[in-house]
């Protein structure tokens, strides 16, 4: 309960500061939009040459991309931990975090949130409605609730993978390029996994389960029954991966060495 009220206090403070730098915020939202547009154009260009890709139509692909944007936006808004090692371990900011009576990961989420990324939710929904309309998809009364649960699962998958990577920083503070690489791999989840080779499909499902952020949950709304089982275990995978990452994080905190001063 108090974590909720602390969250809103921080969010309020965040908005207050951001609104004083309105230009920055506009630029950020604009660059996000541009990034999303480029990705969408890529899909459209591919389908300029073919009408079906392993049985997936253009509108289905666009729909999956739209779905992917929603959990990705939520992840981006709250888990800005790609520079965790540099900012908190090397510079020793973790010292300060650890002298406060809130879970350290939660504090970092609060400090690093970037609420303007949530704008991606709007874009994602718009793309889904557009593509869904073309496909003639119909909504059941319970679909919005399932949507929320699947989105939460997808965001947790992302968060779990990146928190795990950030935890490595507690053991080794040397620079690695794993984070940007992982952002790239994450993008594979927004295309249907059956277009990939079997090994990649396996990796994207069970090792780095990015497929649970895009294609699997979206398959439910596209009525692709062969993928339903994957769609329904999305929340489970999300919770498991996130729980593992928090567990690793907690061990990592006991290994924290502090920055020498």
């Amino acid at each position: 309960m108090s974590y909720f009220s602390i969250f809103f206090q921080y969010a309020g403070q965040y908005l207050k500061t951001r609104l004083t730098y309105r230009a920055d915020m506009a630029v950020e939202i604009f660059s996000d939009l541009l990034f999303q547009a480029v990705n969408l154009i890529f899909i459209l260009v591919v389908f300029g040459h073919t009408s079906l890709l392993k049985g997936w139509s253009k509108d289905e692909m666009v729909f999956i991309y739209g779905f992917f944007l929603v959990p990705f936006a939520i992840f981006g808004a709250f888990f800005n931990i790609w520079d965790f090692t540099d900012r908190y371990i090397v510079k020793g900011e973790m010292d300060r975090i650890l002298t406060r009576p809130i879970h350290s990961l939660f504090q970092i989420i609060l400090e690093r949130m970037e609420l303007e990324s949530l704008f991606g939710v709007v874009t994602g929904l718009a793309i889904m409605f557009y593509a869904g309309n073309n496909l003639g998809l119909s909504l059941h009364w319970y679909d919005p609730f399932i949507f929320l649960i699947l989105v939460a699962g997808g965001a947790l998958v992302y968060a779990g993978i990146f928190v795990t990577l950030a935890s490595i920083g507690f053991w080794s503070d040397s620079r690695t390029d794993i984070m940007p690489m992982m952002y790239n791999i994450g993008n594979y989840g927004r295309y249907p996994v059956d277009i990939y080779n079997r090994i990649i499909r396996y990796v994207l499902t069970w090792i780095l389960p990015f497929a649970f952020v895009g294609v699997y949950p979206a398959a439910y709304f596209l009525g692709r029954e062969e993928w339903y089982i994957y769609a329904f275990i999305t929340p489970l995978i999300g919770v498991i991966f996130f729980a593992i990452s928090v567990f690793l994080w907690n061990i990592g905190v006991t290994k924290y060495r502090g920055a020498g001063n």
Binding site: S2, S5, I6, Q9, Y10, Q13, K16, T17, G92, E93, M94, D95, R96, L98, T99, R100, P101, I102, H103, T254, K255, Y256, R257, G258, N261
Partner: protein, 338 residues
């Protein structure tokens, strides 16, 4: 148990790998690494009672910060027992840190971009301090530290002295019974230092706040602490009253002579051979310092003899400062008893 800090055989080791030289060495490092274990804190034990103000001193790298970080729950000890406020700092971290306040001189607790009072408000929420208590208690702290006019300024626009006062206030929002201060006066001017010392004395008297202070500035310790703990290479080499330290070590006086011409060591030694005098040359051959016992007769006799034989331009009698005492202790590496 009435100790607020109770530490037994506390030890912290850091392992680091040393890299071999050259390209060949770098290749070998890939497969086998040379690990070296550095002991930052070497089996120390100490107890601090409620309401004490203790100075924790030592040279750079002596293990001060590492100890403080273990006492505040930031680092996990390699071995040993720590009880602070009746809790194990690392195990019960989130509960434990509610009972302490921390100020790191080189690291800010406040948010850089937002007004000081907004920072306070966030911290109030984080520590879950009730409104009523916050209003009366913080009004008092703000008044004593004279930071009222700074409250609506963002932290980045404050001077170091102003910021430090705000940091102190921030550390006291939840009125902790134990306060850790790591170099709180580093880089501050004399007036701000005095103000901060006054304030620390005040909260110590008013709330019985226990304070553990590390500093390079011994005048802080002299002004505040009755007890000092000295650390060298991870070991405690002195734990006791500051007064005692002065009595054991600072018993002598120094007489500084400035002669009108160059003089030699053997001449001076010849002049004062009846007394126990240690002569030391100053910056050049005409300035000399005589260290003698603190006895009026000896001091007078030494001055009389020297002045009768040599012409002097200046003369000064000084007491040995705490700083010199500490330096002497570090040079000898241990504290002599009695």
């Amino acid at each position: 148990m009435d100790y607020i800090i109770d530490v037994k055989d506390l030890r912290k080791e850091f392992t680091s790998h040393s890299s071999r030289s050259g390209l060949k060495g770098a290749f070998r490092d890939l497969f086998t690494r040379n690990y070296t274990i550095k002991t930052a804190v070497d089996d120390i034990s100490l107890q601090i009672r409620k309401g004490e103000m203790v100075g924790y001193i030592g040279e750079n790298g002596a293990g001060k910060s590492t100890t403080i970080k273990m006492l505040t729950g930031i680092l996990t000890p390699t071995s040993g027992e720590v009880r602070v406020n009746g809790m194990n700092p690392h195990k019960d971290r989130e509960k434990f840190v509610r009972s302490i306040g921390v100020v790191f001189g080189q690291r800010s607790q406040l948010w850089w971009d937002i007004a000081v009072q907004e920072s306070f408000r966030l911290l109030k929420k984080v520590y879950n301090v009730p409104d009523e208590f916050y209003n009366t208690h913080m009004a008092d702290v703000i008044k004593t530290l004279a930071i009222e006019p700074l409250l609506d300024k963002p932290v980045r626009k404050l001077s170091l002295g102003q910021r430090m006062r705000c940091e102190l206030a921030a550390a006291l929002i939840h009125n902790p019974p134990l306060l850790f201060l790591d170099e709180p006066t580093i880089g501050l001017d004399v007036l701000v230092k005095l103000k901060i010392r006054e304030f620390l004395k005040e909260i110590n008297a008013k709330y019985g706040t226990t304070i553990l202070l590390t500093t390079h500035d011994l005048s802080d310790i002299e002004a505040l602490c009755e007890r000092v703990i000295m650390l060298d290479e991870g070991k405690i080499i002195y734990d006791g009253a500051l007064q005692q330290l002065r009595e054991n070590w600072g018993e002598g006086k120094q007489i500084q002579f400035l002669f009108t011409e160059d003089v030699f060591m053997n001449e001076l030694q010849e002049l004062t051979k009846e007394h126990l005098v240690v002569w030391e040359q100053g910056t050049n051959a005409s300035t000399w310092t005589a260290s003698v016992e603190n006895d009026e007769e000896i001091i007078s006799a030494v001055i009389g003899k020297v002045v009768a034989a040599k012409r002097i331009a200046d003369l000064k009698i000084v007491e040995i400062t705490t700083e010199e005492i500490i330096r002497n202790i570090y040079e000898e590496g241990a504290v002599r008893n009695g």
